[in-house]
């Protein structure tokens, strides 16, 4: 890494530049650094794959045509691995089918070289915004999943039935336990899932997409 970016906070975004052309890669990294981002260059798809998994937020700027796997192939591979880093394609001469394929596969932008700094930096900040929203959502999901993991089997069962709209009495009858016990478990679920109302609990269940996987979780 070049000097001048040492004083980066833990969560400052990192831009990954994948381009086989040394001078282009260097120039783009340099421009990004001058604009205040941290940048990391990779000469080909393989080098980038070796650096995975990447935990820091950021985005990928990628050339389409490279020796070895192309940019589009790398995108497909990353998608399969559940990559959440937005991809900006940068190409010498992109044609329409190529850009359509890239955008369908989730690329946030498809730029042609030579690219003006304004365009590139706007695309980067847009990508980071998208990535920020995605990672927030991811964080919440992780958090909710953690809460859900903390429930006991009995509590999860009661969670499911509550969300299905069953009354305490019905739940008790179905599980063969007292209505009081059901009430106690239900309070525990609300507590562990950090919600105050039935409505909130239903929403959380929706976010976790629990209905279908209820039986096997």
């Amino acid at each position: 890494m070049e000097q001048g970016i040492i004083a980066m906070t833990e969560n400052s975004p990192l831009i990954h530049v994948v381009d086989d052309d040394d001078s282009v890669r260097k120039a783009i990294s340099r421009l990004l650094q001058a604009a205040g981002y941290e940048a990391q260059g990779y000469a080909n798809a393989g080098e980038f794959l070796l650096a995975l998994p990447i935990s820091t937020p950021g985005c990928i700027i990628m050339d389409v045509r490279m020796p070895g796997p192309s940019g589009l192939e790398l995108q497909t591979a990353l998608n399969r691995q559940g990559n959440i880093l937005p991809i900006i394609f940068l190409t010498g001469h992109g044609d329409i089918p190529m850009s359509v394929q890239a955008m369908k596969a989730g690329a946030v932008d498809f730029l042609t070289k030579p690219v003006q700094s304004q365009t590139l930096l706007a695309a980067v900040s847009n990508a980071l915004e998208i990535q920020g929203r995605a990672s927030q959502q991811q964080e919440r999901m992780d958090y909710l999943r953690n809460c859900y993991q903390s429930l006991t089997d009995r509590e999860r069962e009661i969670f499911r039935l509550v969300v299905q709209g069953k009354l305490n009495k019905q739940i008790g009858a179905q599980l063969g336990i007292a209505e009081r016990t059901v009430k106690a478990h239900r309070a525990q679920v609300m507590n562990k899932m950090e919600v105050n109302s039935l409505a909130d609990l239903v929403r959380v269940a929706g976010e976790l997409q629990l209905e279908t996987e209820f039986s096997d979780v």
Partner: protein
């Protein structure tokens, strides 16, 4: 001719009534001037004809009088009669519709020449002129019909000319007066008739080519003469005149050697070989005048025996020299023109070939313009990013000067990289002369690879370059050698269409003995053995969209460099195209230097 130039100088509109009417309707102001202008033009036209007639008559008259000087005193007839050549020349270079002017001029001059001559009355003179003109006209018409206006261009037309000018015209011109002599019973007519026939024939044959050229080209001919030709002509004239004077003025009593008459022949041959019919004609005229004039005055090798013998000897000598010389001059001219035509055709062919090669280069390059654009676009993109990064850095409170300096270095390198691609392309796009100069096979290979790298990348083909240890220099045309290599590499890449693995093209240079061999190897399916013999033929293509010119052009280019091009299939898979070029001898020091610089280049 002269009248024609008058016509063209005067308004041609006025000589065409229909046209005038049309013009009057369009522009009435012109109509008021029209009659006077028309009158002026008509007067000019008539004046032109009259001037031409008089000029011709005067020229004829003067020539007639000049030839009278070439008479052996007791005879009234000349030994060499030139005026007939003037008539013949005039008719040859004038359109048939203008011949009447020369007819009138001839009648005037013919009558005037014999005016007051008791031997030949005016009627006979006029009659002689009629015969003369009629025969000349028939001869000239025959030549114009048969020979495309220039009787001295080919041997057949020269034969027609000799028949007309050497036989028909002299017979017709001398016959009337001979007949009158015979009618009057003036002694033995026969020797006189032979002498006058030979005099006219000689004059026609020798004089016509010289006069035709002089009248046709006039001053223009002098302007077209180069300095070298002018000097040569002057030297020739000088030699011819000195030898002629020496040979023909040797006095008769100093036991002149008869064989001396052959002395001028080498110079006559010189004239014929170098200046064709015109030169031969003028040289013959000069020799004829010199020999005749001196013989009349009792000098030279022809003075001996009776006077009849003098004249006949002289005439036979001149005839014997003139006829073969004129024919030889015609053959030389024919040969020279054929040679010039051949050279011109070869030059045209060469130009066509070069055009074809150029077109083929353009076609090849146009196939991958996108890749070439990419190759230039990359450094341009890097330059833009670097420049904008520098701008951003400069806006900072304390700009990092070292970083900006590094950026500047990178910008310069990228700029050089872009211009390098353009440089290697420019030669191939240019349509220039073939230049033979020492060129480096390495440089050629590197340039071609630089152009093709992006294209190979696009097709997912690995392009390998294996350069031998020594640095071969050959004598050749850089662009043409690049074109050959370009064709071979593109063919190799085409050959690997649809081949999934080992997509590799390798270019190797190898120096052995006194030649350098460049090979292009692909890992495609190879060439079917039955196609190999025809592979380098024109219009033979295995590609669907191919023209079949690439390999044919490559072969012709390599053969022009004194090399060979051939193809064989690799033992396992793919084809190997090879070409060899003879090595240029260079001093080892330069070779070493070039070698190290290249190794540096390669290791970069």
């Amino acid at each position: 001719m002269q009248s024609k130039s008058f016509l063209s100088r005067g308004s041609s509109v006025l000589l065409e009534p229909g046209h005038v009417a049309g013009n009057v309707a369009v522009a009435t102001s012109e109509a008021t001037h029209s009659p006077s202008v028309r009158r002026v033009a008509a007067v000019r036209c008539i004046a032109g004809h009259i001037i031409l007639i008089l000029a011709f008559a005067i020229a004829f008259f003067i020539l007639q009088k000049l030839t009278f000087l070439l008479r052996f005193p007791p005879y009234e007839r000349t030994t060499l009669w030139i005026p007939g050549a003037l008539t013949f020349s005039a008719l040859l270079i004038s359109p048939i519709s203008g011949w009447w002017r020369f007819y009138i001029g001839l009648c005037i001059a013919g009558y005037a020449a014999y005016y007051g001559d008791p031997e030949i009355p005016g009627v006979v003179a006029l009659l002689s002129a009629q015969f003369h003109f009629a025969m000349v006209a028939v001869g000239a018409w025959g030549i114009l019909r048969l020979t495309n206006r220039d009787p001295f261009a080919t041997v057949p037309s020269m034969l027609v000319f000799v028949f007309a000018a050497g036989l028909l015209v002299p017979l017709a011109t001398s016959a009337p007066s001979d007949w009158i002599r015979w009618m009057r019973g003036l002694g033995d007519v026969w020797p006189t008739a032979i002498r006058s026939f030979l005099a006219i024939s000689l004059g026609m044959l020798i004089g016509t080519p010289a006069l035709t050229t002089a009248m046709k080209h006039g001053r223009g001919w002098f302007r077209s003469v180069t300095l070298r030709e002018g000097i040569e002509g002057m030297v020739l004239t000088l030699c011819l005149m000195s030898v002629g004077l020496w040979v023909f003025t040797t006095s008769a009593d100093s036991r002149a050697i008869p064989a001396l008459v052959y002395a001028p022949i080498p110079f006559l041959l010189w004239a014929a070989l170098r200046f064709e019919v015109v030169g031969a004609s003028w040289a013959l005229l000069a020799i004829a005048y010199l020999s005749t004039w001196n013989a009349i005055n009792g000098r030279g090798p022809f003075v001996g025996g009776s006077r009849d013998d003098h004249v006949l000897q002289l005439q036979i000598f001149l005839m014997a020299v003139a006829l073969p010389l004129l024919f030889m001059a015609v053959v030389v001219g024919e040969h020279r023109r054929a040679h010039a035509l051949l050279l011109r055709e070869m030059e045209e062919r060469r130009k066509t070939e070069e055009g074809l090669r150029h077109a083929s280069r353009l076609a090849v390059l146009s196939e991958f313009t996108a890749s070439i654009a990419h190759e230039i676009n990359q450094p341009l993109g890097a330059i833009l990013c670097n420049a904008e990064a520098a701008e951003l850095l400069l806006e900072k409170p304390s700009p990092p000067i070292d970083e900006i300096r590094r950026i500047m270095v990178d910008i310069r390198n990228d700029d050089l990289r872009a211009s390098e691609v353009i440089r290697s392309l420019r030669g191939l796009l240019k349509r220039g002369k073939v230049e033979r100069q020492p060129v480096s096979i390495y440089q050629i290979a590197m340039d071609v690879i630089a152009i093709l790298r992006a294209e190979a990348e696009r097709r997912g083909i690995e392009l390998q370059l294996e350069l031998g240890r020594v640095h071969p220099i050959v004598l050749g045309d850089r662009v043409h050698l690049q074109q050959v290599l370009l064709n071979l590499i593109i063919n190799a890449m085409e050959a690997m269409k649809g081949i999934p693995d080992e997509r590799r093209v390798s270019v190797c240079t190898l120096q052995r003995d006194d030649e350098v061999v460049v090979s292009v190897t692909d890992r495609g399916p190879g060439i079917p053995p039955e196609q190999i013999p025809r592979l380098f033929d024109r219009f033979f293509s295995t590609k669907l969209e191919g023209m079949g010119m690439g390999l044919a052009i490559s072969r012709s280019l390599i053969e022009q460099h004194g090399g060979r091009i051939w193809v064989e299939n690799a033992s396992d898979r793919g084809a190997i195209f090879r070409f060899s070029i003879p090595l240029e001898k260079v001093d080892t020091k330069a070779e070493m230097e070039a070698d190290t610089s290249w190794n540096r280049e390669l290791s970069r």
